[in-house]
Symmetry: C2
DNA sequence: TTATGGTGACTGAATGTTCATTCATTGTGT
DNA sequence: ACACAATGAATGAACATTCAGTCACCATAA
């Protein structure tokens, strides 16, 4: 059980992304994922404990590596404001370039047992930490306001990005979301008030 | 089928909220909902087309009436800024006062077939329209910036509120979210920049 | 007043389907 | 000839939905 390496492990995860994106969570039977991965039904269980484990692993693998990439990119930059722009840009880019993954993470994987949800939550914490760090840095630099809880600010940033991507996915990705990076950045930093 | 009135119709919807909140979507069998509503399994099908129809109706009834309330409250106010504060306040209040409903709408109902999702989307449009109206009014009044698409601003407002409530639900509602109204309002209006 | 019949709401056991999971068997490389 | 990977048909559990039967109530007539 649960060998975490090998071509088949990756093949099954990629097949799962494809099948779930195309048919929806409720019609993503194990047998369908197996066929897409060119593997027998039983083989799935040599690599994953059960069906939930496929979904948890999928999220950890795909999002985990995205978070790593983000972390490294941000380290190249100095100012909190620039880091924030880069974060928005990377988030929009990644999901633009992976439509299937966007559908799965924004829509299909939101349905799940407490188990899966819990595991997703654990993985997400790393991302929240990255955002919190940017905000804290901005406050220290004196360019971000210091009268609000960091978590409130983080929720605005994450909630807005998340909602924007979900809307983009729902609209069948008809517009270029990456080009909206600066609008969102400016909205965060300058707020709603006319000036 | 689908009598939309009567005690039992409401009883079944309320039972569904309770059962889904307590046991999660995947363990909310029709028979469990029936038992909670003090009704036989078969009776459900006198009032609802099928299980999905329960969920769709649940969302329409509960959220629909919330949107109405919101709409009326906002009409009592003049300035866009005040309307925005009231919107945040109402949204936080409603879901604070209905823990079960909050769990169901924020978490459990996000899992669902395209069908349910579509119907939820239709219902949500009314709410998005309410937010869009506030934003448009603010721009006309000259107090909100006019260089961004109204929908981008709406996504910030809705996304932030939604994320905040989800986080509150996930943390087992350990803090008073209503008291955060002004923080969020100030964050929207004044943005992130130190001043 | 009491029997009769009709109506429609309600019941819940039985049905049938849909999969996730298992495991006896087969294949492959060394 | 051994070890290990892979197979896929068979299993059984879960559960939405159905429907033949019961019940409660009312109107009418004797």
């Amino acid at each position: 059980m649960a060998r975490k390496t090998g071509d088949k492990y990756q093949a099954i995860i990629d097949a799962a992304v494809k099948v779930i994106a195309r048919h929806g969570y409720h019609h993503a039977q194990v047998s369908k994922i197996a066929r897409e991965a060119n593997v027998a039904d039983g083989t799935i269980y040599l690599y994953f404990k059960n069906k939930d484990d496929i979904l948890i692993s999928l999220f950890k693998e795909k999002m985990g590596s995205f978070f790593e990439t983000t972390h490294h990119h941000l380290n190249e930059l100095d100012r909190a404001e620039d880091k924030l722009r880069e974060l928005i840009h990377l988030h929009f880019s990644l999901l633009s370039e992976n439509r299937d993954l966007a559908i799965v993470t924004q829509i299909e994987l939101r349905q799940s047992d407490p188990d899966i949800r819990y595991q997703i939550g654990v993985t997400m914490k790393r991302y929240f930490q990255i955002i919190d760090d940017i905000v804290s840095q901005g406050i220290e630099e004196g360019v971000f306001r210091d009268d609000l809880d960091v978590r409130i600010i983080r929720r605005m940033i994450f909630g807005t990005i998340d909602e924007a991507i979900t809307a983009w996915v729902m609209k069948d990705q008809k517009y270029d979301i990456v080009s909206l990076t600066d609008s969102f950045h400016s909205l965060f930093v300058n707020g709603l008030r006319a000036r």
